[in-house]
């Protein structure tokens, strides 16, 4: 239904514009979460239940938190730059030009002219089946990648912690170190796990 799509699209674009132009960084992060929700709405409207819900779970539930933590740890709330600068008009011009070229290329390409096959009703079962048969290699590679990232994060955090333990006590007080010590218990108990 075009009405639903219009509403979702307006919400997404408005949140995206807000994420770019708001002064307060935390507001920007929250507007970004709004964009993610809008995008999930687009997926759901297209009938892709699994992808839409996974989008909410991963992006709104985890990535937004990550972004917010990153903002908190760097403590750079207020941006003092003006919203519009000298380069704004030039950049708008370049963006419009690039977008125009892309749209012209897509419209002219033969891919648009092909008639689409009727969309299959993507059930979760079929996604699961194809993940385990066709796409098992990308799945395993992604799993390895995520495991490596997890281990890397733990190692970096551990090093960071042992470094702050060795430094003077004062430097620990002006840096909000609770997030790292919450996510990773004190090394006296954890050891090298």
């Amino acid at each position: 239904m075009p009405l639903t799509f219009t509403i979702i699209a307006i919400v997404t674009i408005a949140c995206a514009v807000a994420a770019l132009s708001l002064r307060n960084l935390v507001h920007c992060a929250l507007a970004l979460s709004g964009t993610f929700v809008g995008l999930a709405g687009v997926y759901l409207q297209l009938g892709a239940q699994f992808v839409g819900l996974a989008q909410v779970l991963v992006y709104v539930g985890a990535v937004s938190i990550l972004v917010v933590f990153a903002i908190l740890l760097t403590r750079n709330d207020q941006s003092t730059d003006a919203l519009f600068s000298k380069a704004t008009f030039a950049s708008i011009g370049v963006t419009v030009a690039v977008l125009g070229v892309l749209i012209w290329a897509i419209v002219k390409s033969p891919a648009v002219k092909k008639t689409l096959p009727p969309a299959p009703a993507p059930s979760v079962k079929s996604i699961g089946d194809s993940l385990m048969t066709n796409c098992v290699l990308p799945l395993e590679v992604m799993a390895l990648l995520l495991t490596a990232a997890l281990i890397g994060a733990v190692i970096i955090a551990m090093q960071n912690q042992s470094k702050t333990k060795m430094e003077d006590g004062e430097s620990k007080m002006d840096k909000p170190s609770e997030p790292s010590s919450i996510l990773h218990p004190p090394s006296s108990q954890g050891g090298s796990k």
């Binding site: 979460s33 239940q49 779970l57 709104v60 059930s123 609770e178 218990p185």
Partner: protein
């Protein structure tokens, strides 16, 4: 007759929808499906606040509230009036927009999540193919609201509480989802009505609920522990920390917004109890075939009330866990157990029915529990304190 009683709400809704003119029927159907949920669960919330206070009181050798109404059961009316007429204090330096939106952002996902729970036979609001994923996805959105509440108050204690709460919720989401995944594996579907239907048979003297299998029992216990952590309920209520940081991330909220936080928390608790019932306790199925004449929605709500009483009982018993104990518990105890539970569930599926599979799966579940338990329990061995000067 029992069929009619079982489907009474469904037939009522269909009849009311048929009374509307044709072009409004879709809208009427939606409204008539949503309105009962919005009436029943906040009503249950009101009742449960009173029951919880009275129950906790009795556990603590005292009466609960017993002045307002018969035996104090109208206390929620007094609480509601108080919340509504209290002055809404917003700190001067607070981020007004986010401060205003945070309670809404908490309550909305907690209400939306009821859309996929099967309350009875044919009584699910939307039968999504990926219903369980919907539940977890929307439930994960509450963390953002917690952060918004903590951040916008411009209060260090509030931010503290919010950080702890988020860390706790993220850590316990993994055991929560993984213990549900073992159910999905066996039932073969993410759709909640199908999972309930998979537990509808009565083989032997126990119904075929997943809780009556070794991996199901372990999964149920892990799910309940993770659920109480997700709802910030004792013994995991350090972010709320009533005796330490007063109210944690909702310190600066007063009046109706505080009531909304409270509402959101309890609604989330009911929803996750409902999910536990759907996944492990057989949903709306009766425990014995002879009792199947009682309507399905009655069974669902009976089980829901039983689980809520269990939560209240646990709250009155256990002391609060410290933050690092909480985290240790999630990452070092519950996560390995849920992973082993997955393997146990798979073994259960492949070994044919009989004593062997009970023994194997039971061993797979109990063994690591004891070993890990010993590992965790032995960590904090404190030696007898030696005093230098006093003796």
């Amino acid at each position: 007759m029992t069929e009619a009683l079982d489907q009474i709400f469904v037939t009522l809704k269909h009849w009311l929808v048929s009374l509307c003119p044709a072009e409004f029927q879709v809208l009427a159907s939606i409204v008539l499906s949503v309105a009962p949920i919005l009436m029943v669960f906040p009503g249950l919330f009101a009742l449960v606040t009173v029951i919880e206070r009275k129950g906790l009181g009795r556990i603590q050798n005292r009466y609960g509230p017993n002045r307002v109404g018969p035996f104090g059961f109208l206390q929620f009316v007094a609480d509601g009036i108080k919340a509504l007429i209290k002055e809404d204090v917003v700190p001067r330096r607070a981020d007004k927009v986010i401060h205003f939106l945070a309670p809404l952002a908490l309550v909305l996902p907690c209400v939306v999540v009821y859309a996929v729970l099967p309350f009875g036979r044919n009584m699910t609001l939307t039968e999504l193919d990926a219903g369980l994923l919907f539940f977890f996805a929307v439930g994960a959105s509450t963390e953002l609201a917690v952060f918004m509440a903590g951040w916008s108050s411009r209060n260090k204690y509030s931010l503290f509480g919010a950080m702890r709460a988020i860390a706790q919720m993220i850590s316990y989401e993994i055991p929560l989802i993984l213990s549900a995944v073992s159910v999905v594996m066996i039932a073969g579907s993410l759709s909640l009505p199908k999972i309930v239907a998979a537990q509808g048979t009565y083989g032997g003297w126990l119904p075929d609920w997943f809780v009556f299998t070794p991996w199901g029992l372990a999964g149920f216990l892990l799910f309940m522990i993770a659920a109480s952590a997700e709802s910030n309920r004792a013994p995991f209520d350090l972010p709320e920390g009533e005796s330490e940081i007063i109210a944690g991330y909702y310190i600066e909220y007063s009046g109706f917004k505080f009531a909304l936080f409270f509402l959101g928390e309890y609604l989330g608790l009911f929803a996750i109890s409902g999910l536990a019932i759907t996944l492990f306790l057989g949903g709306w199925n009766a425990p014995l075939e002879s009792l199947a004449w009682i309507p399905s929605w009655a069974w669902f709500f009976t089980k829901l009330i039983a689980l809520i009483l269990l939560f209240i009982w646990t709250r009155g018993t256990l002391p609060r866990l410290r933050q690092d104990q909480l985290m240790n518990f999630a990452w070092k105890f519950m996560l390995p157990l849920t992973l082993i539970n997955l393997v146990a569930a798979a073994l259960w599926h492949y070994i044919p029915a009989g004593f062997t599979r009970w023994f194997m799966c039971g061993l797979m579940v109990v063994g690591p529990y004891c070993l890990l338990g010993r590992g965790i329990a032995g960590k904090d061995k404190t030696s007898k304190r030696v005093y230098r000067f006093a003796d």
